[in-house]
């Protein structure tokens, strides 16, 4: 379960910007949530706070009851390692590593034995239907294929939470639909909590819940029954 308790995030600079203002949310385990809103509404900031990539100015973020505030960088990394998978708009694959190596990366970082890493990476690439692309480098893949590799990497330890930042934003309509179908399929099969930041209304409508942000505040929170 993800809990945001009176979260405020300000960016200090020549001009102070409040990205999130006193946001409180609860996302129960297994829910598929989309977060929408105009540019600068605080969507990505919210996702970064949930993923422990950034720290709130005030308030608390809790993942499965554990507060992220006060954790060291390495402790936050351990939380991400064990509980969170990230999917980015621009894939963020390492260009020098093959698909198999990219997917195996988080597992190596966890210190898994090489044989197990290889087996799990192959299993995940099969899951995202990239059996014939395992040894390819990212630059040899299409955009959709790259996002599939990124999804496989996010799923490497079958984390309970998947955070996706505009996962279809850099893809054409058809490929975007395929990727969304894949995420929905994996969500159904694996039961992870999925939080998707998006501009795309079709993506939003395919989720069971949509949270609308504007000027750093939650202005709407819609649940749909599927």
């Amino acid at each position: 379960m993800i809990e945001l308790d009176h979260i405020t995030k300000r960016f200090e600079g020549q001009r102070q910007v409040t990205a999130l203002a006193d946001v409180s949310l609860v996302i129960p385990r297994g829910e598929m949530v989309s977060i929408i809103g105009p540019s600068g509404s605080g969507k990505s900031t919210l996702l970064n706070l949930v993923g422990g990539l950034d720290r709130p100015t005030s308030g608390q973020v809790r993942i499965d009851g554990a507060t992220l505030g006060g954790l060291s960088d390495d402790e936050l990394t351990r939380v991400r390692r064990d509980k969170i998978g990230f999917i980015f708009q621009f894939f963020n694959l390492l260009p020098t590593l093959s698909c198999l190596e990219n997917v195996g990366l988080p597992l190596h970082l966890r210190g898994w034995p090489r044989r197990n890493v290889d087996a799990r990476a192959r299993e995940l690439l099969t899951l995202v239907q990239l059996t014939d692309r395992m040894e390819h480098l990212p630059e040899e893949l299409s955009g959709g294929e790259r996002q599939r590799v990124a999804i496989a990497r996010a799923l490497s330890v079958y984390p309970p939470i998947i955070l996706a930042d505009e996962p279809t934003g850099n893809l054409d309509t058809q490929t975007g639909s395929d990727i969304l179908a894949l995420i929905r399929d994996l969500h159904a099969r694996l039961g992870s909590t999925v939080v998707i930041v998006t501009h795309d209304m079709s993506v939003s409508q395919s989720c069971s819940r949509t949270i609308v942000l504007r000027d750093g505040r939650v202005v709407e929170d819609v649940r749909r029954s599927k």
Binding site: T96, L97, L105, P106, L109, R153
Partner: protein
């Protein structure tokens, strides 16, 4: 100028650390250049200044090498029609036995005439000492000190000063203290005046003078007088202005000065690579900025000048810093060079003041700026060639295109072939050096390709060791060979120089040890001075009989060595008892027949010369050479060429009888003692010391002690190698920090992804460390490979142009083994800060897209 302010200045401000590192490259280069040159110049200047100040109004000096000459030469000189006044001089450097004072230069003069050439104004003491030379003569223990020396050591008139003499330690009475003047500041103020006849006795000169100082009669020119005197005294004498001594000193230090020059130029060359690296990186990083400028109407010329302007400013700031730093360091270096010169050449030094000449500083500034501009030429040209459309597209610019790689390979192959041809053709010096230069150029051309190849080779190993961190570290090098190659090249050059110098040092040691084992085989050596190269004091030959009578002594050999001027170069003449030496120390000549060599030398029908002299002066076996001596010119054939390292400029070995005849000198510098079988070395040593206790200053060294002493001097000579290792380590650190700083900026997103994917701080750090260690390792491999080639060339240069030494090629394995942890340690050190900055950056910013 406006572009510099609008474009360059914000870039520098944004990359403060990198700008500082780039500037540090030039600071390092210029500082080493200035420090080495200033120190060397200061030592030479201190010597010349001492000569000048002691010379006073002297216009010409008559000398005959170090041996001195009979008193009757003075009458000949004084009788010359062009000479106004001529006075005899004895110069000796003695140990003061005062802690921290070092040595004292004693000037033995004849007060009767000397005041026409030098001022002796007394601060205290009886003027009569000066005014009436008889007073001085009547009291042979009299000495006059400078005010500086007296005040420093609290001496007053009447104080007793102990000094080491040939007759052991003697106490001299201070009869006067000179007022500060030009003369008193000679030799750093450590100067004393003594009566010439007292000096003859004190320093065992017999009835000889070291030198005659003279002034020319009005109406005659110095050149006329020089000509007249040369005719009168003959070819065995040198008649030169006082500055001639400075020139001889410089000639003697030729090999050392060349080493210093090579080291300082090398430091500048390395600085150039650091600048090149920084600008090459800056150009690739700023491609889009250049593209925008080009799109807005900037011409190629403006872009080129923008980067050259940046490099000129960097060079100027770095050079100014280098000047300051270099002058500060020069003092310590000068002290070390001064000590080295005293120990190696036996010429006492007192380079207390370090004076950097304006010309040197201006030259260093100009060289620093020029080096910086030259280093930026290629990157500036690349920037000017940037196509605006391509520059605005995202892409990789750090890669080497296949076409470029092919062009490099082709150029390297052609130049390597030319270099090999130069080497095989040999002969001409120009062809040889051109071949050497081409070999270095080939290595520089190949270094990016080789770096890439090695990075690819070590990837599996790194990946095997650390699947993520290792693979990413290797990939970082593979993806950006441009970023890495200049650092690797700088490290390679630096290490190649260290390997070559270390190899030369090692070969020299081996060769010197071989020579010592053959030529220096007596059990004991009896010397008049603690320093074996100082030849201020000599023994009388009568001591040979006394030493032979000491129980346990089987054989005594007398050796006299003096430095003379041969073919305008200071070389060593060693007079030996050939027949005796032939029985104890049979050397195999490099050229000539051993039996005939010893026979002809013993008979006074021939001369032996050292291999290095033969090489440097292009002498051949059988060639008749002319050796100038006070009593005529020796014209004899070379009957043997032998290995001898008594002097860097070369040695002429002759029989003692021949020497006595031509120099009228039977004194001895060293007694070589062979012991009877069963006699204990320490016992006999003790007996010799006891025999002369209180009568004569005698130092006795065992065979092991003498060899140890020579090796210590050799160590000092090669201490430059340690300076180079220090520079190599600095280069490694600077280059790697620079490369890693850029690498981290380039890989910011990659490192961010690694952290998001679960990479802990330790894992991120490790990937940076491994990258640094890989750069270090590749630099080591390439440096050792180029070092192996460089060593060959350096040995050839030593043989042909520096010391004439024939050295065996021997790769310095022990130094190489020591360099591996040193450079890897330096690489690791260099990676600490970049690694910390990599783990502490903002994750959100790292993952952001524009």
């Amino acid at each position: 100028m406006i572009l510099l302010r609008l474009i360059s200045w914000p870039y520098f401000r944004k990359h403060v650390l990198r700008t500082m590192l780039t500037t540090a490259g030039i600071v390092l280069g210029v500082a080493v250049f200035v420090a080495m040159r200033t120190a060397n110049q200061s030592v030479l200047f201190a010597f010349s200044r001492t000569v000048d100040r002691i010379a006073g109004k002297t216009e010409l000096q008559v000398t005959a090498g170090e041996t001195g000459f009979d008193e009757d030469i003075l009458e000949i000189v004084q009788a010359a029609s062009s000479v106004r006044v001529a006075v005899p001089v004895i110069e000796a450097v003695v140990d003061t036995n005062i802690k921290g004072e070092g040595s004292l230069l004693i000037l033995g003069v004849d007060m009767t005439g000397d005041r026409s050439l030098r001022e002796y104004d007394l601060e205290s003491g009886e003027e009569a000492v000066i005014d009436d030379p008889l007073v001085f003569l009547a009291q042979p223990d009299s000495i006059i000190l400078t005010k500086e020396f007296a005040e420093k050591n609290r001496f007053a008139v009447g104080s007793r000063l102990p000094l080491g003499t040939v007759e052991g330690e003697k106490r001299f009475t201070v009869r006067g203290i000179m007022k500060s003047s030009g003369l008193t500041s000679a030799f750093g103020g450590n100067l004393a005046i003594m009566d010439i006849y007292a000096a003859q006795k004190t320093f065992g000169r017999g009835r000889k003078f070291d030198r005659i100082d003279l002034a020319v009669k009005p109406g005659h020119t110095i050149a006329e007088s020089e000509q007249e005197l040369r005719t009168l005294v003959g070819p065995g004498f040198q008649v030169d202005p006082p500055s001639g001594r400075g020139q001889q000193f410089e000639a003697m230090l030729g090999a050392y000065s060349m080493m210093v020059s090579i080291s300082s130029l090398f430091a500048l060359f390395i600085g150039m690579f650091i600048i090149y690296n920084s600008f090459a990186i800056a150009v690739t990083e700023r491609r889009s900025e250049v593209g925008i400028l080009r799109a807005l109407g900037a011409t190629r010329r403006q872009i080129r000048w923008l980067f050259l302007g940046e490099s000129a400013v960097t060079g100027l700031i770095g050079s100014l810093g280098g000047l300051v730093f270099g002058v500060l360091v020069a003092r310590a270096v000068a002290a070390s060079i001064g000590g080295l010169i005293t120990d190696v050449y036996g010429v006492a030094q007192h380079a207390g003041e370090v004076t950097a000449s304006f010309a040197l500083l201006a030259g260093a500034l100009a060289i620093g700026v020029a080096t910086s501009i030259v280093a930026a030429l290629i990157p500036a040209q690349n920037a000017a060639r940037v196509d605006p459309v391509r520059a605005l597209q995202k892409g990789k610019y750090q890669v080497l295109s296949a076409g470029e790689s092919r062009a490099r390979m082709l150029a390297a192959a052609i130049l390597a072939a030319v270099s090999i041809v130069c080497l095989t053709v040999g002969g001409s010096r120009v062809v040889f050096y051109a071949g050497y230069l081409l070999a270095v150029v080939v290595s520089l051309l190949l270094s990016p390709l080789l770096s890439l190849g090695f990075a690819r080779m070590i990837r599996p190993l790194l990946k095997w060791a650390r699947p993520v961190e290792g693979a990413l570290a290797a990939d970082s090098l593979i993806q950006a060979p441009r970023r890495t190659s200049a650092s690797v090249a700088a490290l390679m050059l630096s290490l190649a120089m260290v390997v070559a110098f270390a190899g030369m040092a090692r070969a020299s040691y081996t060769s010197i040890i071989d020579w010592m084992n053959t030529a220096l085989n007596p059990d004991l050596f009896v010397l008049p001075s603690q320093n074996i190269v100082t030849r201020s004091m000599w023994f009388p030959p009568a001591m040979a009989t006394e030493l032979a009578a000491i129980p346990g002594v089987a054989r005594v050999q007398m050796v006299r060595d003096v430095r003379i001027v041969f073919r305008r170069t200071p070389v060593m003449v060693i007079a030996i008892e050939t027949s005796s030496v032939q029985q104890t120390t049979r050397r195999t000549p490099v050229e000539g027949d051993a039996d005939e060599m010893y026979r002809a030398t013993a008979a006074g029908q021939g001369l032996m010369v050292s291999d290095n002299l033969a090489q440097l002066q292009h002498l051949r076996l059988g060639e008749v050479i002319e050796v100038p001596a006070p009593l005529g010119v020796i014209r004899l054939p070379i009957v043997g060429i032998v290995i001898d390292y008594s002097d860097q400029q070369g040695t002429i070995l002759m029989d003692r009888s021949l020497f006595e005849r031509y120099w009228h000198d039977d004194s001895v510098n060293v007694f070589r003692l062979y012991l009877k079988s069963g006699a204990q070395v320490p016992d006999v040593k003790q007996r010799v010391l006891e025999r002369y206790a209180g009568q004569r200053q005698v130092f006795v060294l065992t065979n092991g002690e003498l060899k140890g002493y020579i090796l210590r001097i050799t160590d000092q000579w090669f201490s430059l190698t340690s300076v180079q290792i220090a520079v190599a380590v600095l280069v490694a650190i600077l280059g790697i920090v620079n490369t890693l700083t850029v690498s981290i900026t380039d890989r910011r997103r990659e490192l961010g992804v690694l952290r998001v994917a679960g990479g802990l701080h330790g894992q991120i750090r490790r990937t940076i460390w491994l990258e640094a260690l890989s750069i270090g390792a590749i630099g080591l491999v390439l440096g050792f490979a180029l070092g192996a080639i460089n060593l060959y060339y350096i040995l050839q240069i030593v043989h042909r142009d520096i010391a004439g030494m024939r050295l065996e090629y021997e790769f310095p394995v022990s130094v190489v083994v020591a360099l591996v942890p040193t450079i890897l340690g330096a690489a690791f050190l260099a990676a600490i800060w970049p690694a910390e900055s990599a783990v502490h950056g903002s994750l959100v910013e790292a993952l952001e897209y524009e």
